[in-house]
Amino acid sequence: MAAEWDSAVRRLLLQAEAEAFLVAEADCLDGRDFEAWLAMLTDDVKIWMPIVRNAESGGPVAETTAENFDANWFDEGIETLRQRVKQLATGVHWAEQPPSRTTRMVSNVRLIDIISRDGAATADDPFGDIAALAVRCRFLTYRNRNEDEQDFFIGKRNDTLCRADGGWRLARREVFLDQSVLLAKNLSIFF
């Protein structure tokens, strides 16, 4: 009974850790602290967003474009993400100058999997025995820019958070935006 209790408590703690990470990340991006956001990513991070099609249910065509193969909305790693941050810092990236106002809501956070590794929980790192967390959530990102331009980006995300240096880092993100025709003129913000 005690072991089950410990396990349940630990799971709750990890759920809270995952939620805290995602909320802190959203705060970072909404606050335009892009360098701090880059520091929350692993060096081999991957963020990709497939394109959605109107496909027949049960038909031959997949509803989303294929990872590593088709054209997507995004498919990038740390190098490109750093380029984006560099572009924002130029001051002449007109899509974000003046900057968009964004509010990122993250909800329905579900801990899907806890991936263990060889190692032990220690006083320094109570999660030292964990390699990564697989987390699923919903996002609602509101963007307002210029005078009357507004976009709602709503969808689902599958995130993998790695344990590194006593903290969490985003290692992989799949973003499923619920639009087949993108109703925003551009995707000049991070997801």
């Binding site: 038909g59 054209a71 899509a95 210029n146 000049s188």
Partner: protein
């Protein structure tokens, strides 16, 4: 539709002055659908989207939804995606495989299979046919409306509603040679390209001509993309957003309306523009491609192009990145942009992956270059709706009077690197078409029946 407008006053191309009404006016927009889109060759898709019999791809022509399909007999066809009975879309999937399209509303069904019908698109199934129509319904007359002209040009598929349309080759003129740069292989092999899966589709609140013009040869807007250059998003590090290129020229085709940022024909060996990609395998691949290109083009006149527009609404990038775009009109002040990406056939997986990632960080709404274009286009459109703003004409005088014929290019003129000569050519063509009744206007205007 009858509309008496002074098109010479709206488009004074000789003096490089064009009215903002072209970009905001509802009546002009409605007339364009009849007089420009209903009689122009429009890109509807790519053979790579319909590789097998019965494959279909839903596209648009102007503001109409159309079905592009390869029939079971291997014929490429385009149909209006609207049931003749009450107008419902008979195909509501972006892509798929079917020879039979059944309207969800009243159940009329249509077949493209010549084994089952005499005329592709013919009505094949009618619920309560005997009871309701005494079995007398004319199944050809009430079949899907088929587009009379469809051409597969090196994989790109073009369609034209006008029964009297000129052949596609005449319509393209020598602009075709520039289109070839995108559609041929990097080594110059004819039609050696293929399409990546996935079509990027997005809405922009601007007029379609603003987009078409931007890609027709506006090197002057380089300054828009300074941030992408500074972020060094190109394939070779420290080289801005693209590999280095010699200064290109605005080359356009008066009378046809097409144009691009391009290089005149030459018989010199092609330049090797491939930089060091920092990867031995990829460098070796491009060296081999260039060797083959030198062989394939030896002694032949060849051209090159960075970006161009084929009148009215198709644009393409031929080198870096390499893509086909269609700007569909939605309203006077809204478009739906489509972008599809090309690579060579048989590209090694690593090279293809490098290109795919580059295309996505450069182009489309998420691209670091294209994202800035949309900011310009939407604000240009907003500023042209003000009571005073819309009365201030646009200036298209850059490079005015510098137009000169290009040796070895039928009908082509160059007007310098920084020039709006191609835009002047584009709007002259627009004016010519707008001043003449459209192909369907004489039929008592089917909008009112008959």
């Amino acid at each position: 539709m009858s509309l008496n407008r002074d098109f010479d006053a709206l488009v004074d191309a000789d003096n490089g002055v064009i009215s903002r009404e072209l970009f905001v006016d509802r009546d002009l927009y409605e007339l364009e659908l009849d007089r420009v889109f209903a009689r122009s060759w429009l890109l509807v898709g790519h053979a790579g989207r319909i590789p097998a019999p019965d494959d279909f791809f839903v596209s648009r022509m102007g503001n109409d939804s159309v079905i592009l399909t390869q029939s079971r007999q291997g014929e490429i066809m385009v149909f209006l995606n609207s049931c003749p009975h009450r107008g419902m879309r008979v195909c509501r999937f972006d892509q798929g495989n079917a020879a039979l399209f059944t309207c969800p509303y009243h159940g009329w069904s249509f077949s493209t299979n010549r084994e089952r019908v005499e005329v592709p698109g013919q009505l094949i199934g009618v619920p309560r046919s005997e009871e309701g129509y005494s079995g007398q319904l004319d199944r050809v007359r009430w079949g899907l409306k088929r587009c009379p002209n469809v051409v597969n040009y090196k994989g790109s598929i073009w369609a034209n509603w006008d029964p009297d349309a000129p052949p596609l080759e005449d319509y393209l003129g020598d602009m075709r040679r520039y289109l070839d740069v995108a559609l041929d292989g990097r080594d110059g092999s004819p039609g050696g390209s293929q399409l990546l899966g996935g079509v990027q589709k997005w809405r922009i609140r601007c007029n379609w001509k603003t987009v078409a013009e931007n890609f027709a040869g506006d090197l002057y807007h380089e300054v828009s993309h300074q941030s992408a250059n500074l972020a060094e998003i190109g394939l070779a590090k420290g080289k801005g957003r693209r590999d280095a290129l010699p200064l290109r020229h605005a080359i356009g085709f008066p009378g046809l309306g097409h144009g691009g940022l391009a290089f005149p024909p030459t018989t010199e060996p092609p330049l090797n523009l491939s930089p060091d990609y920092g990867d031995a395998e990829i460098n070796a691949y491009y060296a081999e491609i260039h060797g083959r290109k030198v062989q394939n083009l030896a002694g032949k006149a060849h051209v090159n192009l960075v970006v161009g527009t084929i009148f009215p609404n198709m644009s393409f990038h031929a080198n870096q990145p390499r893509s086909l775009a269609i700007v569909h009109p939605i309203s006077p002040t809204e478009v739906e942009m489509w972008r599809m990406y090309l690579v060579d056939r048989d590209t090694p997986a690593r090279v293809q992956d490098m290109l795919r990632r580059y295309y996505l960080r450069y182009s489309g709404p998420g691209g670091m270059t294209e994202a800035d274009d949309m900011e310009n286009w939407t604000q240009v459109t907003l500023a042209s709706q003000g009571a005073i703003g819309r009365r201030q004409p646009f200036n298209y005088q850059l490079g005015l009077g510098k137009e000169a014929p290009v040796d070895g290019l039928a009908g082509g003129v160059a007007s310098g690197s920084y020039s709006e000569g191609n835009a002047r050519i584009f709007y002259r063509r627009w004016k010519d078409l707008m001043a003449a009744p459209g192909p369907f206007e004489a039929e008592g205007d089917a909008r009112h029946g008959g």
